[in-house]
């Protein structure tokens, strides 16, 4: 028998059957020698069973059809497959338009094509397509395998930014195609399920570029380049919230 004094919390836990058996017995013994406390505890127990009986009928009511879970799941599935179909059409259109306009501006302005603006666009496209994917947002979840894969494809060591201190957990990533070769996409999410995407690839132009916010995009984002590698981060919400994350990623990337 422990000599820990019986606290107010112990009394409530006794009422709620939340104590270890040994402690439960200690409290019971204490109550036997303290009738006043025992009376109070008994009234709490009565209260508890009274509430449970009074509210039990609500849980016994038959469920209305609107709360049929199979139906909710089914309608969700239908809606999301409809939207992925729309995404497929949109992606096809984007490829077609991209193909035509890419061809027409070919040669017109060689310089910016592989630059920061292009990287920013690629990152928002990746965010658009993959972050909204509920079924398979990432190809690989294992971080070791992922680093190895993207490092091989990008032909240089790629480091995974660690954003746990900022509240974002790595979901995984994949190699994504760009007009400038393969890029590595990493996806993170926070406790609310908000996702963000980090895209990195070797730069053909703008090999070193200061961090710049994205403009004219639906999502907030920042891009920069250090030592030939470009980085871009895109997420929902306001740019001010994303800025510290971008700084953190930049800092980590510089310490490879």
């Amino acid at each position: 028998m422990s000599n820990r004094p019986i606290s107010e919390d112990d009394l409530h836990a006794y009422v709620d059957h939340a104590l270890e058996p040994e402690r439960q017995a200690e409290v019971a013994a204490y109550l036997e020698s303290h009738p006043d406390v025992a009376k109070r505890v008994a009234s709490f127990s009565d209260q508890r069973s009274l509430l449970r009986s009074a509210l039990a009928p609500i849980a016994e009511e038959p469920l209305p059809p609107q709360l049929n879970l199979s139906r909710i799941i089914e309608s969700k599935r239908r809606r999301s497959s409809a939207s992925s179909f729309r995404w497929a059409i949109a992606a096809m259109l984007m490829l077609a338009i991209g193909g035509i306009s890419g061809w027409s501006i070919r040669g017109a302005s060689e310089a910016p094509a592989g630059g920061l603006a292009a990287l920013a666009q690629e990152a928002s496209d990746s965010y658009h397509v993959y972050a909204s994917d509920r079924t398979r947002p990432v190809e690989l979840r294992d971080s070791n395998e992922l680093v190895q894969w993207v490092s091989n494809r990008l032909r240089q060591p790629v480091k995974l930014p660690d954003l746990t201190k900022s509240g974002y957990r790595l979901m995984g990533g994949r190699v994504v195609p760009t007009a400038h070769g393969p890029a590595a996409m990493f996806m993170y999410d926070d406790d609310h399920g908000e996702r963000l995407v980090v895209l990195t690839r070797p730069m053909t132009t703008d090999q070193n570029a200061p961090m710049a916010p994205h403009s004219g995009s639906d999502f907030a984002g920042f891009s920069w380049a250090d030592g030939g590698m470009g980085y871009s981060v895109v997420g929902p919400g306001a740019a001010e919230q994303l800025k510290p994350l971008a700084n953190e990623i930049r800092k980590q990337a510089q310490t490879i």
Partner: protein, 176 residues
Amino acid sequence: MSDMLHQIEPMIPALRRYARSLVRNRAAADDLVQDCLERAVSHWDQRRDTGSPKSWLFAILHNLAVNQFRSVSARIQHVAIDEAGEHEIGQNADQEQKLMYQDVLAKLARLPDEQRAVLLLVAVEDLSYAEAAKVLNIPVGTVMSRLSRARERLQQELERPADHQQRNVVQLRSKP
């Protein structure tokens, strides 16, 4: 998918019961539970804790209710009670028991929102203190102190004569 179905489905009756204490009437409570279920279905894969989804579901429900009422700047109002009329209280319960249930629910409704929430999650929905703390996003110590205050206060109320008895007395006296 079927794993999700099997884990969430058994919780629905309890979610409805808790919802009934957060909003005014049955229809509003069921709408709230429906929102909660839709959200749970979409975010199922993003759960942190892959154990029992109980506190996760109650947290979604609770937050939806709080946000909903904050947005219409209305107070979270209790319930179960005004409507806890004929059909809600079990039909088999005898008259005296029925009155007793109505009385305790009316008195429960008068507790401050935050005390009532803790009491219901712990004493009726069987959440552990840690789970209740997670649902309400407060420290466990705060759960304990609210639980204690809720029980003391409800006990004081219960020791007073029941509401319906008072009403009856008034009616009798005003008869002649």
